[in-house]
C-alpha cells in the first residue's frame, strides 16, 4: 500500500512540475504564426515543385500571406493548381483573385538532326550545362537545343521527353503545369513558359538563334534569320525582331497565321491548329474574330521573358599552368 502511495505521489509531483515547466516554456518561447499561412498551405497542391519561385508550398503560402498584407496578390501564381487554387487562396485571404491565363512550356528550337548538321562529337558528362560550356556544342548553332535532356530530368511531372528521332525534347501539354523547372534547367533558355492561347492554339517562332542571318542560316536550316518578313505581314504588331530573332508576343497575336506562310525558313510554327483546308481565308476569318476578343482578355501578366542563358564563365579559369 505504502509503495503504491509513494509511487503515486512521486509521479504526481513529477507530472505537476513538468506541467508547470511546459506551461512557462510554451508561453515564453511561443512562436506566433499567422493562422492564415496554415490555411493557405492546406489548399495548395503540396507538390513542392518550386514552380511558383518559392521554396515549396509552405514558402509560397508565407509569400501569399505577406503579399495580401501588402495589398495585392499580383504576380503570385501556383502553376500547378492554376486559377482554381488561386481563387481559394484569395478567398482565404479576402482578396480579389487575379486570373492568370494558363501557360505551357514551349521548346523554341526546331533544329532537328536533319535540319542542323552535327559538326563535332561531344564526349563527356551527359549534361546540357556541361556541353554548353564547350561553346557552340555539337552543332554550329550556339543558341539551339543541346539535346542532353537536362529539361527532362528537371521535370517533376513527366511532361517532357526527348524524341530520339529529332533529338529535341517534346512537351506533353496534358501533363505540363508550366512550373518552369525545365525553363530554368535549360542553360540556353530555349524553353519558354508561354500563354497556352485560345483552344490551345499558338503561333510561335521555334528558334532562339540570335546570330546574324548568314551565320544562323549556315548552322541550321530551320533557323530564324531575322529577315523581318513576318513583322511586315503582321497586322497586329505582335511580332518584333531583336538581335536577329523574331518574337511573337502571345498577348498581341491574333492567330491569323500570316507570318507562318511568309516565313522563308519555316521557323514560325502554328501549333494545335487543324490541318489547313483548301480555302483557308473564308473558313478561318470569322473564327479569328471571335478569338480576337477572347484572346485579349485573359492577358494580365507582362510579356513572359525567356530565361536568361547561363553565362559561360567556364572560360575565365583563374590560372595558367
Amino acid at each position: 500500500m505504502n509503495v503504491i502511495l509513494i509511487a503515486v505521489i512521486v509521479l504526481g509531483l513529477i507530472g505537476l512540475i513538468a506541467a508547470v515547466v511546459l506551461f512557462f516554456i510554451s508561453h515564453k518561447f511561443a512562436v506566433h504564426e499567422d493562422p492564415r499561412i496554415g490555411e493557405v498551405s492546406a489548399v495548395l497542391p503540396q507538390a513542392n515543385c518550386g514552380g511558383c519561385g518559392y521554396p515549396g508550398c509552405s514558402g509560397f503560402a508565407v509569400a501569399c500571406v505577406n503579399a495580401a498584407d501588402g495589398g495585392s496578390l499580383e504576380g503570385k501564381l501556383c502553376p500547378v493548381g492554376g486559377t482554381p487554387v488561386m481563387e481559394k487562396v484569395a478567398g482565404i485571404l479576402g482578396m480579389a483573385v487575379e486570373v492568370g491565363a494558363p501557360k505551357v512550356a514551349v521548346v523554341r528550337c526546331n533544329g532537328t538532326c536533319e535540319m542542323r548538321p552535327r559538326i563535332a562529337e561531344f564526349d563527356g558528362a551527359l549534361s546540357c550545362r556541361v556541353l554548353n560550356m564547350t561553346g557552340l556544342g555539337e552543332t554550329g548553332c550556339g543558341y539551339g537545343c543541346l539535346g542532353c535532356g537536362d529539361c527532362v530530368r528537371a521535370c517533376k511531372f513527366d511532361a517532357i521527353h526527348m524524341n530520339p528521332e529529332t533529338g529535341l525534347p517534346e512537351v506533353d501539354e496534358e501533363k505540363c503545369t508550366a512550373c518552369g523547372a525545365c525553363s530554368k534547367a535549360c542553360p540556353r533558355g530555349i524553353i519558354e513558359i508561354r500563354l497556352k492561347g485560345l483552344k490551345n492554339r499558338r503561333v510561335v517562332v521555334l528558334c532562339n538563334n540570335k546570330d546574324k542571318g548568314a551565320v544562323a542560316n549556315k548552322a541550321c536550316k530551320a533557323s530564324c534569320i531575322g529577315c523581318g518578313k513576318c513583322v511586315t505581314v503582321c497586322k497586329f504588331e505582335a511580332i518584333h525582331v531583336e538581335n536577329n530573332l523574331a518574337y511573337i508576343n502571345p498577348e498581341a497575336c491574333k492567330l491569323c497565321r500570316k507570318c507562318e506562310e511568309v516565313c522563308p525558313k519555316q521557323a514560325i510554327h502554328a501549333i494545335n491548329f487543324p490541318p489547313r483546308k483548301p480555302k483557308p481565308v473564308e473558313d478561318s476569318a470569322p473564327q479569328v474574330k471571335t478569338e480576337v476578343t477572347s484572346a485579349v482578355k485573359p492577358a494580365v501578366e507582362g510579356e513572359p521573358k525567356p530565361a536568361v542563358a547561363a553565362s559561360s564563365d567556364s572560360q575565365n579559369s583563374n590560372q595558367q599552368p
Binding site: R118, I119, A120, F122, D123, G124, T134, G135, G137
Partner: protein, 327 residues
C-alpha cells in the same frame, strides 16, 4: 573531320578500378600460398568456393534482380570480396556455409546498397560476421596446421587468441605459455582463419599495396600502432596480457588493418579522417578481444567504424589551400 569536343582535362592517368582491385588480389597472393601450404586441401576448397560463389551471386543479382545491362564481375571487386571472405573462414568449414556467407556478403553487404562503391559496410566482413553469428560453433573452431589432405575432418585446436582470452578471464599468466612461438606466428604455422595466420606474407602484400599507391599508410599504421601501444601498456600493467608482438601477429589484425579496413568504399576520404578511423578501430579491437565474448574483435571493430565513416567524412575536411594564412 568531325572533331571530338570535351572539357579539359584531355588526358587520363590510366588508373582504373580493375588495376586497384586486381592489385589487392596480387598483394594477397603470398598469404594465399602460405594458407595453401599450411592448410592444404581445406584452404583450396574454401577459397575456390568462396570466390566462385561471390562472382556468381554478383553476376546473377546484377543480371536478374537489378536488370543492369553491364554486369560488374570483370572489375575484380567480387573476386576480391570472395578472396577476403575465404581468408576470414576456418579451413574446415563446409561448402554450404561458405555459399551462405558469400550470399550474405554480396547480396546483403554490397548489392542491396547499389553495388560497387555504394556499400557502407565491407562486404567480406558482413559475410563473415553473418556466419559468425549464425554458425558460432563451426566458425570458432580452427584446424591445426599441416594436415594438408584433411578438410572438414581436420583435427582442431585452440588458437592464440582464445589462449590469450582465457589467460585474462582466469587471471593466470601461466596459460600464456601455451602460445606458439613468435617465429611460428610470423610465418603462420599456427591455428586460425586460413588467410590471417602468416604475418610476414600479409605484410609483404601490404608493402606491395603501398608501393603501387593502392593504399596509403594512414589506416594500417594507425590501427597497428594503436593496438601495439595499448598492448604495451597492458602488458606492463599486468602479466596476464600477452606480449605486444604476439598480440600484433595473432588473429586477423594484420589482415584487417591492411586489407579490410582500407577498403575504399567504407573508409574515410581524408588522411586526417583515416587516422581517426584507424585509431578507433585499434581501440575497439583491443576492447572486444580482451573483454568481449568473441575472441576476435577485428571484424566487429571495422564494421562499427564503417558505420561512422560518413560522419567522419562530414567533419574531417581536408586542409584547404591557404587556410592557415586566412586568419
Amino acid at each position: 573531320m568531325k572533331p571530338i569536343i570535351s572539357l579539359s582535362p584531355h588526358v587520363h592517368g590510366g588508373d582504373s578500378v580493375q588495376k586497384n582491385m586486381y592489385g589487392v588480389c596480387i598483394a594477397l597472393l603470398p598469404a594465399l600460398l602460405a594458407s595453401l601450404w599450411f592448410f592444404g586441401l581445406g584452404a583450396a576448397i574454401v577459397l575456390v568456393t568462396s570466390v566462385i560463389s561471390c562472382v556468381f551471386f554478383e553476376w546473377s543479382i546484377t543480371k536478374f534482380l537489378l536488370k543492369r545491362e553491364r554486369t560488374t564481375i570483370t572489375d575484380g571487386s567480387a573476386i576480391l570480396t570472395g578472396l577476403l571472405l575465404g581468408f576470414n573462414l576456418p579451413s574446415n568449414l563446409p561448402i554450404w556455409i561458405i555459399i551462405i556467407g558469400a550470399l550474405a556478403a554480396i547480396g546483403i553487404g554490397k548489392m542491396t546498397f547499389g553495388g560497387l562503391g555504394c556499400n557502407p559496410f565491407n562486404p567480406a566482413l558482413v559475410g563473415r560476421v553473418f556466419l559468425l553469428i549464425s554458425f558460432p560453433a563451426q566458425m570458432t573452431i580452427w584446424p591445426v596446421v599441416n594436415q594438408r589432405l584433411a578438410y572438414v575432418d581436420a583435427e582442431t585446436a585452440a588458437t592464440p587468441l582464445s589462449v590469450m582470452q582465457r589467460a585474462i578471464a582466469e587471471g593466470d599468466p601461466g596459460i600464456l605459455s601455451e602460445l606458439p612461438s613468435l617465429k611460428e606466428m610470423l610465418i603462420g604455422a599456427t591455428g586460425g582463419s586460413l588467410g590471417e595466420v602468416s604475418a610476414i606474407c600479409l605484410l609483404l602484400g601490404c608493402l606491395f599495396l603501398l608501393w603501387k599507391k593502392i593504399i596509403t599508410w594512414h589506416i594500417p599504421v594507425s590501427i597497428l600502432g594503436t593496438v601495439a601501444l595499448l598492448a604495451c601498456v597492458m602488458n606492463v600493467c599486468s602479466p596476464v596480457y600477452a606480449n605486444p608482438l604476439q598480440v600484433l601477429m595473432s588473429g586477423g589484425l594484420i589482415l584487417g588493418a591492411c586489407y579490410m579496413a582500407t577498403d575504399y568504399a567504407t573508409s574515410p576520404m581524408t588522411h586526417r579522417g583515416q587516422l581517426i578511423y584507424g585509431v578507433a578501430i585499434g581501440v575497439l579491437t583491443v576492447v572486444i578481444r580482451n573483454w568481449g565474448s568473441y575472441p576476435e574483435g577485428m571484424s566487429f571493430a571495422i564494421l562499427i567504424m564503417n558505420g561512422f565513416t560518413p560522419l567522419i567524412n562530414m567533419y574531417c575536411k581536408p586542409k584547404r589551400f591557404g587556410e592557415v594564412t586566412a586568419k
